[in-house]
C-alpha cells in the first residue's frame, strides 16, 4: 500500500516518537509477566490459607487434607498407574460415546436440515425430547441396560446427540438461500451439494455442536461414574470419599479439571483449523 500520491513532505509524528523495538518487546513481555503473576496471586493466596487452616487444625485432617498429602497422593496414584488407568477408562467411554452419539447426532441433524419431510416428521419430537435433562434418563437406562458399560455409553451418547443434532440442523438451516440457488444453477448433484456446499457452510455449526457435545458428555460421564461404576475417574472419587480419604477426592477433581482444560484447548484448536479457510471481518 505504498502509494506516494499525496504530500511527500508529510511525516507521521508517531514514527518519530517510536521507541527502539527491543524496548516495546520488553515492555510487552513485562506486561505479560505481570498479568501472569497477578493471575497466580489468588491461587497462591488460597493455597496459603489452606495450609494455614491445616496448621492451625481448624478442621479435622479427614475433612481437610493438607496440601502436601494431596500432592503425595497425586504423585503416588500417578506413579503406580491407578490414575492413568482410571482416566483411560473414562476417556475410552467418552470416545465411544462421541463416536456413537456424535455420528447419530450428525445423521439426524443432516437429515432434518436437508430433507423437508424428515424435518416435519422428526423435528417436533426431537425438539420436545431435547429439552429433557440428560440426567433424567439415567434411572430408566439403569433398568434397561444394567449398570455396566452399556449404561455409561448410552447415557453419555444421549448427552452428545442433542447438541450435535441441534447445531448441525441449525447450521444447515442458516445457509443462505442464494448459495443453494447457485448450486442449483451449477447443476450440482445431491452429493455434490452436500459435500461442496452444505458441509463446509454448516461446518461452524457442526463444530459448535461437537464442542457442546463433548462438554455435555464429559458432564454426564462424571455423573454416571459417580452414580454407578466400578472403575473410571468418578469411581476413584467415590472410593476416596468412602474411605474418607479426601486427598484422593481432590486428586480426582484435579484430574477432571485437567482433562476439561485439555478437551477445551483441543476443541478450540480443531475449530480454528476447521474454520481457518473463512476470512472473517471480525
Amino acid at each position: 500500500m505504498n502509494t506516494v500520491t499525496s504530500s511527500v513532505a508529510y511525516r507521521p509524528p508517531a514514527v518519530a516518537a517510536a521507541p527502539p523495538p527491543w524496548r516495546t518487546l520488553a515492555s510487552a513481555l513485562g506486561a505479560r509477566l505481570l498479568a501472569f503473576g497477578a493471575g497466580l496471586l489468588l491461587p497462591l493466596l488460597l493455597l496459603g490459607l489452606w495450609q494455614y487452616a491445616v496448621n492451625r487444625h481448624w478442621l479435622a485432617e479427614q475433612i481437610l487434607p493438607p496440601p502436601a498429602l494431596v500432592r503425595d497422593s497425586l504423585l503416588e496414584l500417578w506413579q503406580n498407574g491407578d490414575l492413568t488407568m482410571h482416566l483411560a477408562i473414562s476417556l475410552q467411554r467418552l470416545g465411544w460415546s462421541l463416536l456413537l452419539g456424535g455420528g447419530a447426532g450428525l445423521a439426524l441433524g443432516l437429515a432434518m436440515g436437508v430433507s423437508p419431510s424428515a424435518r416435519v416428521y422428526l423435528y417436533p419430537s426431537f425438539a420436545l425430547v431435547a429439552q429433557f435433562p440428560v440426567i433424567g434418563w439415567v434411572p430408566l437406562l439403569i433398568i434397561f441396560a444394567g449398570i455396566g458399560e452399556a449404561l455409561k455409553v448410552a447415557a453419555i451418547s444421549i448427552a452428545v446427540v442433542v447438541p450435535v443434532a441441534l447445531n448441525t440442523y441449525q447450521g444447515i438451516r442458516n445457509i443462505p438461500r442464494a448459495l443453494l440457488e447457485v448450486a442449483a444453477v451449477y447443476r450440482f448433484s445431491f452429493l455434490q451439494t452436500l459435500r461442496r456446499l452444505v458441509l463446509p457452510a454448516a461446518a461452524g455449526g457442526i463444530f459448535n455442536g461437537l464442542r457442546q457435545g463433548v462438554m455435555q458428555g464429559w458432564l454426564a460421564l462424571v455423573f454416571v461414574e459417580l452414580l454407578a461404576s466400578s472403575e473410571g475417574i468418578g469411581y476413584l472419587m467415590v472410593w476416596g470419599r468412602q474411605l474418607l480419604q479426601l486427598d484422593i477426592v481432590v486428586v480426582g477433581m484435579l484430574a477432571i479439571g485437567a482433562v476439561g482444560i485439555l478437551l477445551d484447548r483441543l476443541l478450540a484448536w480443531g475449530e480454528a483449523r476447521v474454520q481457518g479457510w473463512q476470512r472473517r471481518a471480525y
Binding site: P43, P124, I135, G136, I143, L246
Partner: protein
C-alpha cells in the same frame, strides 16, 4: 375461531412419530411380546401417575425440588452477576480473579459433589450450594461478556453526560449487558434444574423431592414410577425453559424485533 386457525396451522405430521411409538408401546405390552415387568404398559404408568398424584406425594416432592432449585438458582445467579460485573468493569479484578475463575470452570460440575457432601453432609445445605454453583458459572461468564460488549463510544457519551458511578452502572452497563445477562440466567435455570435432579440422585433421597420418587421406584423395581418421575423431570425442565424464554422476550422487549 383462533383455536381452529391454530389447529390448521400446526403440522400434524409432527405427531406421527410420537403416535406411532405410543401405538408400538401399547401393542407390544398388550400382546405380551415383551417382559411387562421391564417394559411396563402405558396403562400402568397412568395408574401409577394417578396414584402418586392423588396420594399427594408427587406434588410434595415437586414442591420440595422446585424450592431447592429456585433457592440455589437465586443465590448462584446473584453471585454470578456480581462477579461478572466486577470482572467486566475492572481490569485489575479480571487479572487477579479471571485466571482462577476460568480454570475452576473446567472442573466438571458433578466432580464437586463428593467434596461438598463431605463438608456439608447430604442435607439441604450441600444441595443448595451445589445448585448455586451450577447456576453461578453461566451467569458470571455471560455477564462478564455482556459488560465487555459495552463500547468505548458509549462509555465516552456517558462521561460527557457526567454520569456518576451508580448512574453509569444502572443506566449504561446493565442495560447494555442485559441481553447477555438474560442468556446467562436462562442457561443457569436449565443447569440448576439438572443439578437439582443430579444432587437428589447422588446425595441419597432422605429429603423429599422428585429424585426421591424415582429412587424409590428404582429400589422397588417399579418401572412405572421411574417413568412417571422421568416424565415429570422432563416436563418441569421444559416448563422452566419456556418460562425463561418468555420472560427474556418480555424483559428485552425494548430491543425491538429480532435484529
Amino acid at each position: 375461531m383462533t383455536f381452529w386457525n391454530k389447529l390448521r396451522k400446526t403440522d400434524l405430521r409432527g405427531l406421527v412419530l410420537p403416535a406411532a411409538l405410543l401405538a408400538l408401546w401399547y401393542a407390544l405390552t398388550a400382546l405380551q411380546l415383551v417382559n411387562t415387568r421391564l417394559i411396563v404398559p402405558p396403562g400402568a404408568v397412568l395408574a401409577a401417575a394417578w396414584k402418586v398424584i392423588a396420594g399427594g406425594e408427587l406434588l410434595a416432592g415437586l414442591q420440595a425440588s422446585l424450592a431447592r432449585d429456585l433457592a440455589g438458582f437465586a443465590v448462584g445467579s446473584a453471585a454470578g452477576i456480581l462477579l461478572g460485573l466486577l470482572l467486566g468493569v475492572s481490569r485489575w479484578a479480571e487479572r487477579l480473579v479471571g485466571p482462577t475463575f476460568h480454570t475452576l470452570k473446567q472442573i466438571s460440575l458433578f466432580a464437586w459433589l463428593p467434596l461438598l457432601s463431605t463438608w456439608l453432609g447430604t442435607g439441604e445445605a450441600a444441595k443448595i450450594l451445589f445448585i448455586a454453583l451450577s447456576a453461578f458459572y453461566p451467569v458470571a461468564l455471560n455477564t462478564f461478556e455482556g459488560v465487555r460488549g459495552v463500547t468505548r463510544a458509549q462509555l465516552e457519551v456517558a462521561r460527557v453526560l457526567g454520569f456518576k458511578r451508580l448512574q453509569l452502572a444502572w443506566r449504561l452497563i446493565l442495560p447494555a449487558a442485559a441481553p447477555q445477562v438474560a442468556t446467562g440466567l436462562h442457561l443457569a435455570l436449565l443447569y440448576a434444574w439438572l443439578a437439582t435432579i443430579g444432587a437428589e440422585y447422588l446425595l441419597g433421597a432422605s429429603a423429599p423431592g422428585i429424585g426421591n420418587v424415582v429412587i424409590r421406584g428404582k429400589a422397588a423395581f417399579h418401572v412405572e414410577l421411574i417413568v412417571v418421575g422421568m416424565l415429570l423431570v422432563g416436563l418441569v425442565g421444559m416448563a422452566l425453559n419456556r418460562a425463561a424464554a418468555a420472560v427474556e422476550a418480555r424483559v428485552l422487549h425494548w430491543r425491538g424485533p429480532a435484529h
